[in-house]
Symmetry: C2
Subunit: 160 residues, 2 copies
Amino acid sequence: MNDITIRPAVKADVPAIFRLVEELAEFERLADEVETSAERYLRDGFGEKPWFHCLVAEETDGSLIGMALYYFGYSTWKGRMLYLEDFMVQATHRRQGIGRALISGLVAEGLKHDVQLMKWEVIDWNEGAKAMYRSLGGDLDSGWINVKLYRDQLESWTPA
Amino acid sequence: MNDITIRPAVKADVPAIFRLVEELAEFERLADEVETSAERYLRDGFGEKPWFHCLVAEETDGSLIGMALYYFGYSTWKGRMLYLEDFMVQATHRRQGIGRALISGLVAEGLKHDVQLMKWEVIDWNEGAKAMYRSLGGDLDSGWINVKLYRDQLESWTPA
């Protein structure tokens, strides 16, 4: 963790953030699921009404080696929520406390906004990540199944 | 569906919306998980920066018999997202197309905001709901596990 800075992302970070997302998707063997682009992140995350926020971990030479992309949502049962959409530290920089520092930044951000809950997803075969999240005290809840409707399905939706 | 109106929720709907949330949580045998209140929904959903939005299904006598509570989020892989947090039609009013009408309203709202994805969760033993979502073309993806950190854990978080 020496010489690593955790800070909010700025526009100039977007290409590096997008590369980290791609790297993580490759690791998860789902790279072909990525349909976004750096241009879209720039439009959607840095306009007047940002659709997401992002913390980055930066080395002294300016390279980004980790990031945590999140947005605010709501749980009808718990209340205000910080949803961690994507969280990544480069393989070469793991086990140095950078992930923990990013999570610390998120926790601080969440408490600042009075959230009651922080939530994210982990792919079911990633035992290392699951063990880490359990060690944080995370509730790994497999009693719910995610359902998704994609754009083409939304566009072809037949109204009632 | 005769004489049912689908419209955005207003402040006066909040007590009825909260009752529907409680009713659904009871059906899911998780009523003691509900830690929110009508007061909190009022504060969080109807202030200057709403944490969520809601569509309601109203009968001609003014009673609410269904609702869909949602917020906007972001998928790093797909882009802009509408997240359906809670979705409920009262048991006495099912199989009349009200759920479908609420979903139609959500799809219209999502497309208006140029979302690429609509996402929600279903409890794993609710085969009726799962079958309905599959019939909509939904992708029921069980390869991911949800992780949650609650408020007491956030407050006792030890910084790196």
